[in-house]
Symmetry: C2
Subunit: 344 residues, 2 copies
């Protein structure tokens, strides 16, 4: 395992190029103050020695840090199934990479743990800012991080994220569109299988579902709040489909639960979409792989991530930027939605 080879420092590079440390620093940061010839000699020396600046030292010195934090508070088993996050993360990273910044990722068990983590990251100068997801009503992270003065961007509707600059999708409008679409197909008994009500965006969708049903004069709406896990989606679907007045259409809060729902329907001998229509959310490739393919409320999650990351940099560098929306999830009809059965 090749000798530990004492790591080389800026001093060696300076010596080899016959200049001072300061000159090397200037050259490497593309600042004026060194002639082109010297700059060239310095780069040459650095290349020969295989030197790259110690980022730890640099950030100690210039007070800038090269990472942002993201803590996700859901059990891993569940996360792995949510295509959403990886795509979201990759969006974030595409922006970070441009600024040669890294993402510090951690899975946490609860909000308290997250708050403690963010605090130690921030006070330990590991991160220059953070991205917060999965907001609850009266989320304790808002006051905690505000107190710390940690630059952060919230992913969620401003009504949930306190004073934090936010980026969000208009879930209310999307949920309403979903309901209207199903109603237009002729469905009257529509159900919704959502995430935990404590979670802000689930609550928003629930409220929108409720009010849209009312607007349409439909009283056949039912909602089940559950987790995001497929198994929970399956259980909820099973109980809905076994109930007396079984719904003819079900709207899910993510796509994994919709897939599970399709499985349950099949298991019960119901055909999709002839007997029951299913509509997913957070369209991922998965929706195109099942048979029938799943209709979904789809949006560009990668782009969502880039938008969030960009906003975080705005927070870090400048005056607090405005919260803003990214495009509303839009209906993508596929094979799992159709008019309800005649005898509905």
């Amino acid at each position: 395992m090749s000798a530990p080879a004492r790591r080389i420092t800026i001093k060696e590079v300076a010596a080899r190029a016959g200049v001072s440390k300061g000159a090397v620093s200037l050259a490497f940061n593309h600042k004026p103050g060194v002639s082109d010839a010297t700059r060239e000699r310095i780069f040459e020396a650095a290349r020969e020695l295989g030197w790259a600046p110690n980022l730890t030292a640099r950030s100690l010195s210039n007070q800038q840090v090269g990472a942002v934090g993201l803590a996700i508070c859901r059990p891993a088993r569940l996360l792995g199934l949510e295509p959403f996050y990886m795509e979201f993360i990759s969006g974030i990273e595409s922006v970070l990479a441009e600024r040669s910044c890294s993402l510090l990722l951690r899975l946490v068990r609860d909000l308290e743990e997250e708050i403690a983590l963010q605090e130690s990251w921030w006070k330990g100068r590991l991160i220059g800012g953070s991205i917060l997801v999965d907001f609850h009503e009266n989320d304790p992270r808002v006051p905690a991080l505000q107190q710390l003065g940690l630059p952060a961007v919230a992913v969620g509707h401003p009504s949930l994220t306190g004073g934090l600059p936010s980026v969000w999708t208009d879930d209310a409008t999307a949920a309403a569109e979903a309901v209207r679409y199903l109603a237009a197909l002729g469905h009257r008994r529509i159900a919704r299988v959502g995430g935990p009500t404590g979670l802000g965006h689930s609550a928003i969708r629930a409220a929108a579902f409720e009010s849209t049903m009312r607007d349409l004069g439909l009283d056949g709406g039912r909602q089940v709040a559950t987790g995001f896990a497929g198994e929970e989606g399956a259980r909820a679907t099973r109980s809905l489909l076994l109930s007396a007045d079984r719904p003819t259409a079900i709207l899910y809060d993510n796509d994994i639960m919709a897939v599970a729902g399709a499985g349950v329907a099949a298991e019960m001998g119901l055909s999709v979409p002839a007997d029951v229509s299913l509509l997913a959310w957070d369209d991922s490739q998965l929706c195109r792989l099942t048979h029938p393919t799943l209709s979904a409320m789809s949006h560009d999650v990668h782009n969502f991530g880039t938008e969030v990351a960009r906003t975080l940099f705005d927070v870090i560098n400048g005056p607090v930027p405005a919260s803003h929306q990214v495009p509303t999830p839009s209906l993508t009809p596929r094979g799992s939605t159709a008019p309800p059965p005649r005898t509905g």
Copy 2:
């Protein structure tokens, strides 16, 4: 947005506790050299001021770094669908967290980009070691990182990972078990839809599939190398099922392709498992959600992650540890496998 409040340093804490910086450092690192009374005063002062040590400064000073790197080289769209990675990452993190270490994650486009990234992470002292995944034959990362002297642990069979300490699952044995199981059910025309042959573990499985079929005296084996994306799995399945001598059983390299395969079978009016049996790999929750449920070669991915992380710490701290296996994926029969149709 609460005043930027000049961040406090160890000096202020020392002053308030009426001791020197050194004493504070000693106290906070739980080292002997301060009396209990003083230690208490110091903690008190730190708490009042809300101080936490600047980890950047600390790591500059004591030469230890608080992070390890992981670069994954697959398109994000695809990654999101692979339940494997999130679960794997969470396993890694459960070990890192104990040592209050963080994970630096980056998605890269190709191996060259990964090598450059690892180099800058290492030279920039951002990481103390790295986890490498998705090995190719003659993987260029092996010599490159060895050259750098970067402590690393390889996830893959030692035949692929050069001299790097490795952790791996015995894919050859698992693939053989899969084939034997299907053969025992009576299948003679068995196909396998695998990842790209360039990828080491796909190649290993391919070879094991081939040789096991031969051992069993079956010449009806066919293999298709594709990506890991569901759509590719769907395409491969479609062409297999349309072929003259269509297979009665198909083994997939991950579970997402198996789900896609089930979709294709349904679309073609074939019933699973009556007409065709499907066997997935990397068992995730997804396999239990479809209908029929998917039989799979399953293993504990979370544990795989913890094992890898532990090994990395061994590499970093001590003499190079031995490479070792984690448990071999084992067959978990569910609803997607059965004897072939009579007229097979």
